[in-house]
């Protein structure tokens, strides 16, 4: 099993602790990754929010590169996933647009690349059984709020990988790792997303609400699949606590970190030292990591 890996910009800087466990986890499960050659930023919200054509041209460059490598595109970042997949869908279904974009990007993309998210790969292609078989350190007693955010599941019908309003794939993956997913109602509510610098009031209100409800529903940690969701809930958690007048102290981890921990990967691959709300005291208390090893 070999894929064209599209790390995306965040996974090379603020979300290294999403990237590293993901690569290690996939390696352990027998997935080979070859980076999409000279990939370009997907454009995220700023591209489609300002120029529809640019929002197709930027993903087009990376999709064409993957097609030349003969590989499907795999990404962990939900924002990259959403942009690459929707742009690909539009290009494949509108030949005139594809021709125009090809001319702009100096490529001959034919629309052969498929775009996958790591959640989809693990759940649909590798399968829960194969994952369960690799678990050496089940996350027993860890109550997790699986948070999908907006971009992982909210697609037009033909592109969906999971249920729209109450998805379950991430819950099922975490359950396969031995954790206890909690039932909570805000799985797909928005965290404030790209307003993170421009409208912090909105981001603090939305992220605070997510954390508060996750805690009320009994979660010990929140598991995410998107760098922006992680940054908003982790970085602004102290501000949210101030606004809510309530102590939250809820670690926000990438689901790949929890899965890497469950299959017994080395501490340097699990990267538990990167979160602002430190998850180690909780994980030590639950007997999931040894004191000192991760500090």
């Amino acid at each position: 099993m070999k894929y064209g890996y599209f790390p995306g910009c965040s996974l090379l800087s603020s979300a290294v602790e999403y990237d590293r466990p993901a690569r290690a986890l996939l390696g352990a499960l027998g997935v080979e990754l070859e980076e999409v050659e000279d990939w370009v930023c997907c454009g995220a919200t700023p591209a489609h929010a300002t120029s529809h054509l640019l929002s197709l041209a930027l993903p087009g460059i990376s999709l064409a590169a993957a097609e030349r490598q003969g590989l499907d595109v795999l990404t962990c970042c939900s924002a990259c996933y959403s942009r690459l997949k929707q742009a690909n869908h539009e290009l494949v279904h509108e030949p005139k647009l594809l021709a125009q974009v090809n001319e702009i990007i100096e490529e001959q993309y034919q629309g052969k690349s498929r775009v996958l998210h790591i959640v989809e790969l693990l759940a649909h292609e590798i399968g829960f059984e194969a994952i369960r078989a690799r678990v050496t350190r089940p996350l027993a007693g860890l109550k997790v709020a699986a948070y999908y955010g907006c971009l992982l599941t909210r697609f037009p019908e033909e592109l969906r990988i999971d249920k729209l309003e109450y998805p379950t794939l991430l819950d099922d993956l975490l359950a396969a790792a031995g954790a206890e997913p909690v039932d909570w109602p805000l799985k797909t509510e928005c965290c404030g997303a790209a307003l993170t610098l421009a409208r912090q009031d909105t981001v603090i209100r939305l992220s605070g609400q997510l954390l508060q409800v996750a805690k009320e529903c009994g979660a010990d940690v929140v598991a995410v699949a998107c760098p922006l969701c992680q940054a908003n809930m982790d970085m602004y958690q102290s501000d949210a606590e101030g606004q809510l007048g309530q102590q939250l102290g809820l670690p926000v981890l990438y689901f790949t970190q929890l899965m890497a921990l469950a299959i017994g990967l080395a501490p340097e691959d699990v990267c538990l030292d990167k979160q602002i709300v430190d998850p180690t005291p909780l994980l030590v208390e639950k007997g999931l990591v040894e004191t000192g090893v991760y500090l």
Binding site: C9, S10, L12, S13, S14, A15, V16, E17, D38, W39, V40, C41, G43, A44, T45, P46, A47, H48, A49, T50, S51, H52, L53, L54, A57, L58, I61, I104, I105, E106, C150, L151, R154, F155, P156, L164, T188, E189, C190, G192, A193, A194, L195, L197, A198, R199, D201, T202, R205, L206, M235, D273, K274, Q275, I276
Partner: protein, 189 residues
């Protein structure tokens, strides 16, 4: 909020222009309000999404282009997936924002920073091919005139070793810069 329609002929030209650019049929919107019921940012904004669509239906161009909602929509897509008439509302908001920018409509003061953020982000991509979060924060702080935004958060990034100081430049940067120029040229026609 009330709008006075008495002295305004219904401007269907504007609605047709939005429909053509967004590929969405806006007369199908039946004002059920599901988009607004699920909109996460609406509590902080001046207009609900269904009202923005109503303004377009009525051809009230200035009002449809000059509001916080058009600029601050986060594109989460909740409205899109709940719309019973299958209107791609995010695409309509994107279209209105681009039209407002091209027509020189100034965003309300509370929304001006959103455009500054998008601009800073894309400037960085145009220069390097990828986004560097520190370069983005610096350029955003200059473009938005808010020099200290997030400076209290910055030390975390350094302490946790989460930040590459400057983004890795892609190899074919010249081609990418030609792409940016071509897109700008096509869109200015």
């Amino acid at each position: 909020m009330k709008w006075d329609l008495s002295d305004k002929a219904l401007n269907s030209e504007f609605r047709h222009a939005v429909e053509a650019r967004s590929g969405q049929g806006l007369s199908t919107c039946c004002q059920c309000g599901k988009c607004s019921g699920g909109c996460p940012v609406m509590p902080d904004l001046d207009l609900s999404p269904n009202r923005v669509l109503r303004l377009v239906q009525l051809g009230l161009e200035d009002e449809a282009l000059r509001n916080e909602t058009v600029w601050c929509c986060v594109a989460c897509g909740t409205c899109n997936t709940r719309c019973p008439m299958n209107v791609d509302i995010v695409r309509v908001m994107d279209t209105l924002r681009a039209m407002a920018h091209r027509r020189g409509v100034e965003p309300p003061a509370t929304a001006a920073r959103v455009w500054a953020f998008y601009r800073s982000f894309l400037d960085c991509v145009e220069e390097f091919g990828r986004l560097g979060e520190i370069a983005l924060m610096g350029s955003y702080n200059i473009n938005s005139g808010r020099l200290l935004t997030n400076m209290v958060k910055a030390p975390w990034f350094f302490l946790k070793g989460k930040v590459a100081l400057s983004p890795h430049k892609i190899k074919k940067i010249d081609r990418l810069q030609r792409v940016f120029r071509r897109v700008a040229e096509i869109e200015s026609r």
